[in-house]
Symmetry: C2
Subunit: 354 residues, 2 copies
């Protein structure tokens, strides 16, 4: 801790490993492939922790991440992001060294791939089960056209149907989240049943941290791809996916000013470190993170009544009751439990494990 001079991500590897074990065991019990999303951590060390628990298939969300992990001995990667035709060269290069699965949601892009691919790739058709970000509705006639093209392709192997139920991030509770999971399972299963005769090896792949965390099991799918759960965060805590004690990262930020008259501490730690992701806090205020005190072994419980109330580029404003605030001085460290750990970890490439 003493060597930290600027905003730095603290990773509690015991908690991260506990989270990995929990999800890996749930996948094993549910007899599904566990292909965790690595966009959350983008870290070799975290990758090694996964490997220790038997994981060798991963998910990423950019060609850049696929290149990074391919260069670090990950040989089976699903790029869970609609194919960007402008990266076809990089995709062709990747496909020579790893098993690469791509996502397609239009005949137009499938035809582009058929024309421009130089090697073999797996293809998932991205299905929209209700999130309405990307993907085709299960009834969309485009699906039939894509599968026809895949049937005759020598370069593209149809792997199955994949979805991300991102609407589990906007639910009011466990029941609604689990009903999204059930609905996704039904929609994907129906598609699988329709196409399995023509493509006997296809699978259905599902993923998102809230529902995979809350569900007793993931029976009925063939593969799950949650990612955020390795670190969790304040948003997941508010959704009910985890306890506060499961959150495995905190941003260590130097205190630079203490203002008892307005019950605020200013930290070196702003939008370029934490991201501007915010949620509505317990009393209706907008907040950018909970506040903890770093300890030799990690960090304390959240400081009662304290939260990050504002962020500019490099500054963070921590609101804190005076009786707590008086124990901090410029030069001390505070820890911030991030709202969205994926974004904070992406910004804070300087990381320390505790």
């Amino acid at each position: 801790m003493n060597s930290i001079s600027k905003p730095t991500l603290l990773i509690d590897t015991l908690k991260a490993e506990r989270n990995i074990k929990m999800m890996a065991e749930k996948a094993r019990r549910s007899k599904v492939i566990f292909r965790p999303h690595f966009k959350t951590h983008q870290s070799i060390e975290m990758g090694n922790l996964y490997r220790k628990h038997g994981i060798d298939k991963i998910t990423v969300s950019s060609v850049e991440m696929a290149q990074f992990f391919a260069a670090n001995n990950w040989h089976d990667i699903t790029l869970a992001f609609p194919v960007n035709p402008r990266e076809i060269k990089q995709i062709n290069k990747l496909a020579t060294s790893i098993n690469l699965n791509l996502l397609v949601e239009s005949v137009y892009v499938a035809e582009l791939l058929e024309k421009n691919l130089t090697g073999n790739v797996g293809i998932f058709i991205k299905i929209d089960v209700g999130y309405h970000r990307t993907g085709l509705a299960p009834s969309d006639p485009e699906i039939e056209k894509i599968t026809k093209l895949l049937k005759s392709s020598s370069k593209m192997q149809f792997r199955g149907f994949l979805t991300h139920a991102g609407h589990t991030y906007h639910t009011k509770g466990r029941e609604e989240t689990l009903s999204i999971l059930e609905s996704a399972k039904q929609q994907l299963t129906k598609l699988k049943q329709k196409y399995i005769a023509g493509f006997p090896d296809i699978i259905i792949s599902y993923g998102d941290t809230p529902s995979c965390s809350m569900a007793e099991n993931c029976n009925g799918f063939d593969e799950i791809r949650p990612g955020n759960f390795v670190y969790y965060d304040v948003m997941q805590y508010h959704l009910g996916s985890c306890s506060l004690d499961d959150i495995a990262v905190a941003a260590a930020c130097p205190v630079i000013a203490v203002h008892p008259e307005r019950e605020e501490i200013v930290i070196y730690g702003g939008a370029v470190h934490l991201s501007k992701e915010a949620i509505e806090g317990d009393n209706g205020f907008k907040m950018f993170g909970y506040v903890v005190a770093p300890t030799p072994k990690g960090w304390s419980k959240p400081i009662a009544g304290a939260y990050v109330s504002g962020l500019s580029q490099e500054h963070g404003i921590v609101s804190m009751p005076v009786k707590e605030l008086n124990r901090f001085k410029p030069g001390d460290l505070l820890g911030i439990l991030p709202i969205h750990s994926c974004l904070t970890a992406n910004l804070l490439r300087q990381q320390v494990t505790v």
Copy 2:
């Protein structure tokens, strides 16, 4: 444009230079030092454009940026961020090679500096003129204590009073913005008058893009430090600081899916590229940027009715009326005029000038 395969910042250098000239001329007319904030661009090329217009004093907001620009021949830098005691080593090193000005807002930190500085630095006392982020109220007795300490210091030269009127970002119009500028001027001038006898060289330094853009002149200050104006952005346009045509940056993002059924285009360009900074759009919707079409020489006017309506880590969702949307296909580029160009430029280190 053809070589762009992933989210990339397009910089229209003609517009950026026009913005620089406008502000440099205003500073000259107002007889104030122009010490632009470089946190917006963090770019050697933009620095050179400033140098062309006679600028040799700059502002930054982190030790890291100061190191970066010091290494690139900038010798007079104000670090407009309260001193972070954990970076004293780096500060001491910087002070050996450049004229470095630091910000202090407590006796506690001033004493730490007196004890730990190994060379000479300039000191500004940070004043809070109403933004309430950092700084001391003009009436705060702490100011008297700090100046006493500075009087007897051999390492710290008192440079004067500095403020950032960040509340100009939350005004309802030009009149309110200009009244903030006037109030800041009065508050700082009073302080200067009080201390000038003891410190004949002190100055008052002011800065923020909205008021420096809207004011006819900056008479009455000694120095101005706006930064964002070099690029401007959608937030500044909404505040009335600039025209749409003054915005000098756009994020070029590949189209990856087109969904006419929901009047949406999905782009490769998410929170890790644009930042999650949002404002309320024209019809009350939350929006993350205007949408333009790249052209050989730059980009078009905003596409009518189009805006970035959602961002996840790597995806952006563009809402666009069907009649406009039908001319785009996966593999095309869209340009996004950012809400807050400082954050977008910080994230998009891959940049292309047009």
